[in-house]
Assembly symmetry: C2
């Protein structure tokens, strides 16, 4: 190999979390992870600590010291609206109808494309700093989000949000975004078609977007059966569940990432099973708890059907942060409650859901979501030496039940170091925060009475 033409990274002396497709995760001690051109080329035991053994390599290989750290697959935020970090903490203690109609949708009507660009960049910075290497996004002004992804170096699947009330030109604009950006930023940006939900997008538009998805070889990402009330309302109003709407409009056939799915009912299972190879569901339990919604995503049933399940934060207007460690922990804890089974979603199964499940929901390709030779190098180095993890009986349990985003030390996406020892290398955070703080007062001013939609599913 002619090293001069290749971009090489060596993560030296870290422990490595393995996430097999079945069975327990394990931890390999003291490994070197070799990366060339963004791909993991070898994971092998560290032989010497002595840096002289690296003679002749340090000049053309970037070195990341992993001593005392554990390398994990990058986390995937399976469903979010990244620019909503602009509204975190601005809509607390309200039920879901008021959250949409009195707070969030009025505030969102203030957003400009520039606002969204800055919000998305802040979200990218927050996610990188917390160990998220890919996010599955759904929002307005998708070009600005894509630019933030390109700039920050993170990876994203972006669905441009579409409501039928916006009309056909807006639909065409989302298709044009897909045509322009799918595979952009060296492949780090992919696109899904983004109808908002069956209750805000008509069947004709759903069908049109499913057709475009098939034509472009991409998926669909939308909200459906978010809660049981929505499913019941759909049955009352039109005689079929939201999942049946997805089947009739070709969305299931095209392949779809369904946000929430808490209202998926047993009558939907056959349809989901028939499309299990192309359906994913993201569960975001923090927002269900905060909105007092029950039941939760029926994860055990979905996994039994062969459907991919991921964890997500949803937008930070509900989740407050984009902390995916908290999100995956809450998936484990709420699912134990949901199933009344303390043994369900074990530590290993939770890591697998968040990592492999997330990667599949984000369409990152076969085998993604694990640190294995041949995979893209999306790698997080976590420090479990803090007193809140000690003594460290089981690093896997610490990753699920104890880690904070501030324990994440370094983050690599596509073989490139985006955060080194908690220093973000691709985003000017102070400048960004100054810019955003100057916009806050206008963003939360809802005196105009405008709103992007009215929530009445």
């Amino acid at each position: 190999m002619n090293t001069a033409n290749h971009r090489r990274l060596l993560i030296r002396g870290c422990d490595v979390l393995t996430v097999p497709t079945h069975g327990d995760c394990t931890v390999l001690s003291r490994q070197d992870i070799h990366v060339t051109d963004g791909v993991i080329t070898a994971i092998e035991p560290t032989v010497h600590d002595d840096k002289t053994t690296q003679t002749g390599r340090t000049d053309d290989v970037e070195i990341l010291d992993g001593a005392g750290l554990i390398a994990t697959p990058g986390l995937v935020n399976g469903h979010t609206h990244s620019p909503m970090v602009l509204f975190r903490g601005a809509a607390e203690d309200v039920p879901v109808h008021d959250w949409f109609n009195k707070r969030v949708w009025p505030m969102e009507s203030n957003l400009t494309a520039q606002d969204v660009g800055f919000g998305a960049l802040l979200a990218c910075a927050e996610m990188i700093s917390g160990g998220v290497t890919t996010f599955v996004d759904h929002y307005f002004f998708p070009e600005q989000i894509a630019e933030a992804v390109a700039t920050s170096g993170i990876r994203a699947n972006i669905a441009p949000t579409y409501f039928s009330s916006q009309g056909p030109a807006a639909l065409e604009a989302t298709v044009a975004f897909a045509e322009n950006w799918h595979g952009g930023a060296d492949g780090r940006v992919t696109v899904s078609m983004g109808p908002h939900a069956p209750y805000t997008v008509g069947d004709k538009d759903l069908t049109t977007l499913a057709d475009h998805a098939r034509r472009l070889g991409i998926g669909v990402h939308l909200h459906a059966s978010e809660n049981l009330a929505q499913s019941e309302s759909s049955v009352t109003r039109r005689g079929i569940t939201p999942i049946e709407v997805l089947e009739r409009t070709g969305i299931l056939d095209a392949g779809v990432m369904i946000a929430h799915g808490c209202g998926i009912v047993p009558g939907d299972y056959d349809l989901l099973a028939a499309h299990a190879d192309r359906v994913a569901v993201a569960s975001c339990p923090k927002v269900y708890l905060k909105h007092a919604l029950w039941p939760l995503t029926p994860i055990r049933h979905l996994l039994d059907l062969g459907v991919t399940v991921a964890a997500g934060t949803d937008g930070a207007a509900g989740h407050n942060t984009l902390d995916m460690w908290e999100a995956l922990r809450l998936v484990a804890m709420t699912q134990k409650l949901e199933t009344r089974d303390a043994m369900f979603l074990s530590v290993s199964d939770t890591l697998r859901l968040a990592m492999r499940g997330g990667a599949q929901a984000a369409r990152l390709g076969d085998g993604a979501g694990a640190l294995e030779v041949g995979q893209r190098a999306d790698i997080v180095l976590v420090d479990l030496s803090g007193i809140h993890h000690r003594p460290l009986h089981d690093p896997r349990a610490a990753l699920v039940y104890g880690v904070q985003t501030l324990d994440v030390k370094s983050v690599v996406v596509d073989g490139k170091v985006l955060m080194r020892d908690r220093q973000l290398l691709t985003v000017d955070v102070p400048g960004l925060l100054t810019e955003i703080d100057s916009r806050v007062a206008r963003l939360v001013d809802v005196s105009s009475g405008a709103s992007v939609q009215f929530y009445d599913p």
Copy 2:
């Protein structure tokens, strides 16, 4: 005032969280908090940043720079078993019977007094570093815990765990501990009598311990009605609920901190209301979720009855960390679900529960749990400038839904700085961790078959 004889601290230029007895919490900008001999003597607006205005004072006043930080009342961990940090992550994905009988109680049979001392000191260090200034503890070898409290500078109410199977000499030893240590460590150690639970301690012993509590002017801390199955079992076996047992044995009359109370039933409400001035209940939802237990502590009803409610972590063998921010956040989120009311336990009510409720559960005196003149100076300085909090629309929401323990910068207990800019000043953490790591293999070896009890409530 002759400053030479007094210990003075000035926290300069911080924002201050107010926690009133009713209504919304507020945030005062740019305040100085003056502390003399461990008591808050003034909270007043910062006039000048210029340090020369402090001329002649810096020599005899310790200064803590609060610029850019928010001062909050110290958190109270309303129910824990501090030395169980020794077992964090060693008992995952098991139902509650197996958790006790196959994992935790066998491991606990390995504990020596020295182990407990080191474990308690680690727990104190972890809690201080996460903004906990008081904990309400229940465990074996209470002298070692009290020594750890004395050394570390934190505050604790310690209940020496007692099972009737240990016999009368052990009961007398717990009473002797109360006589020796209540009011110790300059008042930072207080004691409660600590019968384990009505299902492991006979009525005669409960009555004896209640009598001692009354005689000593202290309270009782025990597990009762931990889950609904326990209440039903009590009714089946003896015709009365665990709360009725507490009434008959004089425990309610003596005053009691009840851990969990998820099995408290409407038939218990009159008894609790009649003793509401002396009854507290601590809710620790992370362990309920992990053990798939439902229902949860009926906090809305308890508050309506006038009963004090606090938040707690329980032991770290279930909670993994002693993160009280996570604990109070989970109380808010799980109670919204429990009541199906997204408006219940608002951000302000949650802070009040954790801070004022916690202080009352720990018997810290009238008005404790708020930063007010005349109160003991238990103060936490939190940094909300991190990107996961920005833009900062509402610092109160950030404290409930976004803060991590690593956001806590400095901690003051009884007017003494225990952590300054994340440096723990009273505990040699590296030495402690080395000591603890040398004990781990022995602690988790359950091959002897011994166990401290058998769980069959």
